[in-house]
Structure formats: C-alpha cells, structure tokens
C-alpha cells in the first residue's frame, strides 16, 4: 500500500499578467508590480469593465508549431507552454518514462471561449459551411488536458475539473489521487484565458467585476473600498510526483509537498447555515496533520467583494484566531485568473517556501470594517514551512490545500 507516500511538486511553471515566466512573475510580485491594465486585445469602450490582467509578452509561437497553434485556443496555448516548462523545470523527459505512468489533470473555468466566439461568429454571420474543423476540438473544456497528453505521450488517467476559481485546487487533489492509484508523474494545475469580448460580456453579468478604471486601485481584496474584482488570464502548471519517484531519479528534492487537500460546498442560499470555507480549511489541515499554529501564511481567495471578503475573514479567524496568521492576496496584482488563479497561488506558496519570503498585498489601503486579519501589505522576509492556499468558486465551491516544505 502506497497511500501515505508524499506528493511532491518537482516542477513549477507560472504564466501571469505581471510576468510570463515563473521568474519574471515572481520578481514582479515580490516587487509589487501590477499586471492589471486597460483591455488591449479588443475595443472595450462599450463595456462597463475596462481593466483586465492580460499576459502581454506571451509568445506561444516560439514553442508551439503553427499547425497546433491554429487548432488551439489561447487557454490551451498557455497550458501547453506552461506544461513544457514545468517538465523542463522538473528535469523530466517524458519520452524516457512509461507512458501509462504519466497523467494530465487540469482545471478550466470557461474553456476555449475566444476560439468558440470566432467560430460562432462565422456560423451566424456567414453560414454553417464556414465553421472550421477545429471548433470540435479547441473550445471544449478537455482540450488542454488532451493536447498536453498528446504532446508529451502521457497515457495514464487524465482529467478535467471545473469549479470556477476553486477548480484549480480540485485538479491538484485529483492529481494526488492519480499518484495514489498508479501514476508516478502528473502534470496538473490550471490556466484560463477568459478575456475574449464575449466571455468578458458574460462575466459582466455576474456583477462581481469592478468598474473602476485605475489599475492600481481597482481590485482591492479585504479593503474598505473593495467593490469587485478584475478578471485576468494565465495560471500555473506543476509536475507532481510520488516522493519515491523523485528520489529514485536523483533529482533535486522538489519545491514542496502537497500535504493536505479538502473541498466543500456552501449551503443553499438563504439557508442561514455557515458557508463551507471554514470546513474546507479544517479538513485540509487535518488531512495534512497540521495544527493551525504551524501555518506560516495563508494565501486567501480574496474575492474583493465586501460580503465575500467578510465571510472569508470570518472563516480564517475562526480557525486561527483573529490576526494570528499572516494572510496575503498577491493576486491583487494580476486579477482573478479563474481556474488558473489558485494554481498561481500554489506556485507562490512553493516559491515562498524556497525563498523564505511572503509576497504582499500592495492594493490594501484600509481594512474593511469587521475584517480582523493580519494582511501582509509589503513583501516580507519570513521562514515559510507550511502554507495554506484557499479558493472559492462562483456560487459555493470551496477548496483548500496545505503546502509544506519537503
């Protein structure tokens, strides 16, 4: 029985609006450099929302051939590039491994929406004959997992989980299950690119996006002036391996361990029952056999919507006590990346462990009334052995993971 062997992160690749490589993203984040700006990919002047976190210098053509480029949405291109870099980072050559031992498990929130919009436009503007042959494989939610599996010859159990922002953590939980079953190497995490004109219009209807136009003061989790969030694109892909696999191939020790995971769902609206986030935290800590006092930092979900921020603060305080654990929301620099957002937080947690540093939340001015958290404003040096990452998905999904040093 191998159930208790640890799950190690041996490769990390982040692609974010404030840095299109892991290093650039991390440097920018530690220095408080924002990637949020006016929407540049289409004319958004007719939209109430004008800001987004866009990955500006992403050049997929450098590593994805032209044939594959035309078959894929930007969300899949982000995933393909991140997966290749994560394998490189882990020093893994998939061709040298048994193909059935490798799995791909990703999260998405809205699939290949820009590709889909282009094809639906052709259909309605010109006619059915103009819809291209790749619509059937590019926009559906499994496209990224499928393409990564094909590109690297990975024939183990593959998966795609959808839970809006929480889905990215569910994918990591699923990756751990695959390692318990029979996989030795799993490519996992999530990316999203929900900034096409139609996808953004859909998103506007949620009424959760801020209409502010000052990039620095737009998305302000836990702040007294919070009034919504900014949507962004990007995410992070990891290589997860069973600890004995990492040791056997004589690689480095890895970035950290996926020590605990739990997911819950909120009660029906109007039930008056407590939301599920606290339970997710408690269960993830129990799963990791970690006492709250051992947690060095919490990467919060930080929706930036007052009611949701209060609910999250209450859940954190209920577990840790008021102002007893450093809480940070560096995603204020990039926006919410949906299925890519929580994996990006996990990447930050792993890098925090590596570099003994906690990235800050520079958007924070004054804490909203009733929020009794120790929010890390400026990047600070600190030994990080154990990090908790939280994520919530639209209408009730909650997930938590505990990341520990190797």
């Amino acid at each position: 029985m191998t159930k208790n062997r640890r799950t190690v992160f041996s490769g990390v690749s982040a692609i974010a609006p404030n840095g299109s490589t892991t290093k650039e993203f991390w440097d920018a984040t530690l220095n408080g450099v924002s990637g949020i700006g006016p929407i540049s990919t289409f004319d958004a002047s007719g939209y109430p929302v004008r800001l987004a976190g866009q990955v500006a210098d992403f050049a997929p053509r450098d590593s994805i051939d032209g044939r594959l480029m035309v078959q894929t949405d930007r969300w899949t291109q982000l995933g393909l590039v991140a997966a290749a870099r994560a394998l490189e980072d882990a020093e893994i050559d998939p061709a040298a491994l048994d193909e059935y031992d490798m799995s791909v498990i990703t999260a998405t929130s809205s699939g290949g929406n820009e590709f889909g919009q282009r094809e639906i436009q052709k259909l309605w503007d010109k006619g059915a004959r103009y819809v291209g042959p790749y619509q059937s494989i590019a926009w559906f939610y499994a496209a990224t997992t499928g393409q990564i599996s094909i590109r690297h010859g990975m024939k183990g159990a593959c998966g795609v989980l959808v839970g809006e922002q929480a889905g990215g953590l569910d994918a990591l939980g699923q990756a751990r299950r695959a390692l318990v079953d029979d996989a030795t190497t799993v490519v996992s995490g999530g990316t999203d690119a929900p900034l096409g004109p139609y996808a953004l219009a859909c998103h506007v209807s949620s009424r959760l996006l801020t209409e502010r136009q000052d990039p620095v003061r737009a998305y302000r989790p836990f702040d007294a002036e919070a009034d919504g969030y900014v949507a962004g694109e990007g995410g992070a892909i990891f290589i997860l391996e069973a600890e004995d696999t990492v040791r056997a191939r004589d690689a480095g020790p890895g970035y950290g361990v996926l020590a605990g995971y739990a997911a819950t769902f909120d009660p029906r609206p109007g039930s008056g029952r407590e939301p599920g986030l606290r339970r997710a935290i408690v269960r993830a800590l129990a799963d990791a056999r970690v006492d709250p006092s051992e947690v060095d930092v919490v990467f919060a979900d930080g929706l930036g919507v007052p009611e949701a921020d209060r609910a999250e603060a209450e859940a954190i305080s209920a577990v840790f006590g008021a102002r007893r654990v450093p809480v940070t929301v560096p995603k204020c620099l990039v926006g919410r990346l949906h299925a890519g957002g929580a994996p990006l937080d996990v990447a930050m947690a792993l890098l925090s462990i590596r570099d003994s540093v906690i990235p800050g939340t520079p958007s924070l001015g004054e804490l909203a009334p009733g929020i009794d958290l120790d929010v890390v404003r400026e990047t600070r040096q600190a030994t990080v052995r154990t990090a908790l990452v939280l994520a919530r998905g639209f209408e009730g999904f909650n997930a938590a993971v505990v990341i520990r040093s190797v």
Binding site: W124, A142, G146, G163, Q174
Partner: protein
Amino acid sequence: MSDWGAVVTGVGVVAPGAVGRAAYWDLLTAGRTATRGITLFDAAGFQSRIAAEVDFDPAAAGLTPHEVERMDRSAQFAVVAAREALADAGLEPGQTDPERVGVSIGSAVGCTTRLEDEYVMVSDSGKNWEVTPEFATDHLYRALIPSTLAVEVAWTAGAEGPTTVVSTGCTSGLDAVGHGVQLISEGAADVVIAGATDAPISPITVACFDAIGATSRNNEDAAHSSRPFDRDRDGFVLGEGSAVLVLESREHAARRGAHGYAEIIGFAQRSNAYHMTGLKPDGLDMAEAIEIAMRRAGITPDMISYVNAHGSGTAQNDRHETAAVKKALGEAAHRVPVSSIKSMIGHSLGAIGALEVAACALAIETDTVPPTANLQHQDPALDLDYVPLAARKNVNDIVLSVGSGFGGFQSAMLLARPGLASRK
C-alpha cells in the same frame, strides 16, 4: 473483490424519447429509436439534420419559471434527473448530514445552447466581434462556466460536501460517476449525487461536427440513422439528456436499508496520447483501461455478463472498440453480449456515459440486455455478439461499460449485482 466501490440506490433519467427512468428502460428494451429530424432549430443549412431530441416540457417536469430562466437546458435536465434519483433512493433532504453528501456532474460542452442563443442577441447575429454587454440577460455568466451544473444539482440535493464538474469530453459521464465512487471510497463523502448532462443540439455543435464529417447524414431515414456495428453506418447521431445516480457507501446504504440496483466495483481511465479525434484500430489503450478496471475490481473476464459498448456509430470506433474488448477479455469476448444504446438515443457527448451506467444498473436489476437497434447487416470485419434489434434476457451479474472520446480519453467501469462481492 476490492473495497473500492459504491451502491447505486437511485436512478433518474431525462433521455430522448423518454423522460423518467421507467420510460427510459421501456424504450431501450423495446428497441425503439428516438432519432429524428432536428426540431430544436431550423437545420436546413446543415449536412447532418438528425438528432435524438428530448421532448422536454420544463414546467411539466416540475421546474419553476425562475429556474427555467436561470438554467441552460442541460442544467434543467440535470435537476429533473437528480430529483427523480433522490426520490427513487428515498433520500429525504436532511436524512443524511449534508456535509457528507457530494456532487460529481459530467458534461462535455456545458451550457453551450444558452451561450449560443445569447451570443446571437449580444452580437447582432454575429455581426459584431465586440458585443453589447447590456443586451445580455442576468444569468449569462452562469452559462459561461459549466460549474453551475454542479451548483444546481448540489442545491437540489442540499449537498455541502465535495462538489465538482468533470469535463473530459465524451467520457465525462463515466468519469464523473467514477469520481463520485472515488469520493465515497476514500471517505470524503457517504453519498454522492453523480451523473452527467449535455444539451448540445444547437447550430454551432451541429456545424462543428459537420465540419469534420463525424455525424450521420442519413437525413432521409432519421429513425434508423444511428447504426453502430452495421456495415451501413455513416457517423454518430447527436443526442442530449441526463442521467443522475444516487451513490452511497455500502455501509450507508445498508444502514438505511436502501434498495441497490447495482454496485460499482471497478473503474479505470487511460488516454491514447495519439490524436484529438483519431483512434488507432488496435484499441490497446481502451483495452488497458478495461484490464485495469478488472484488476481493481478483482474479477476475471469470464465473470462479465454484458458489455455496454461505446458504439458511437463510426467505422473507426467500431474497429477500435471491438479490438479493445477482444484484447482485454480474450476468449470470453466471444461469449459475452455487447450492445450500443446509442443506436436508440444517439450520442449525447458527456451525458451518454451516465445514461449508459444507468442502463447497466437497470440491466442488472432486470436481467435484460438492451439491444443494438438498426443492426441489420453486421459489418463483416466485426466478430462479436452485438445483440441486434431485440432485447435479451441474460443473467447480468457483472456488467462492463466503456467510453471513448475526443482528447483520446478511454474509460471503463464495472458494475455488479448488489451483494455479489460479499457472496464470493
């Protein structure tokens, strides 16, 4: 047999030609087909103008106007199927700790119909790339993110445990049910409301399959157009629908004396890492999934009573799948009945896997194998017993269901008669 598993204690179905579990089994065992000319929209400009549509009246199915307004057709299907499954299981809200109830819903294309309908409105029928957000309805974000399918089912069941949408294309249904059994087996939940839903019969979906020639163009004979394993097949017929199951741990089901249709005893997934739509004729990766599922369930090929095939109605699939079953089951493959219910209810993408698991549970319950309808002239290259035209009585102790889909995903699930494991 292994401890991994869960009991199916409730079944709810919204299928073409049959809303409700009883009507569904009646349709399948009678060998009736629900494929017809598309009525959901004007399909005149399309090459494939056939589908298996659900005659669905949301109000008659119990949905309020507000529910209809906020839900895509696929979510409506899932909620109606979930309500039937919960009632069938006799699982009253509040009877089980809501924190111990999870949800796992599969879907290949989510709320695509609603997304397309609204796109037409906000883009002036496709004229504008930059659309007009104020023309969007209040619930449009719920259509963009298919996670809302699981939200609706969780609200229906009052579930507060692990909740997710599994979206692995055409294996979504099998994979979502497999995920639900996994949640129970690892102790994360006692009950999981698991199943799948899709409502893809919209212009963009029909057009995208037209573009790759995947769907049948036998428009003149729509009722007989889904012809798996037949020499005259010419592609799959798009379907829609939902099946939702109540899965319980063996202990939880026994404690409340619940009726079990079947136990799910094995599941495995593999990928072909070959092509997004292509299948190699050797079927090796699907065979691998079947072999691992058998190993995990602790059974041997001769114990399998029935194979519920993927049987989509393409020549590529038929060769691939037949090779896989023969490779995995060996000699036993030639003694076991193999049938495709897609011959009757079409291929509802992500939903079909759950509809097939529901059919497997009912096959065990009634000791009946549903037929492969329209199988008049078996492809001479195929040499298994595909149960042509008429249902068959058969002692169904252990049933295998397989699925295959875009992205290269291959899944296999094993179901057994309740209590069989403990009798062995």
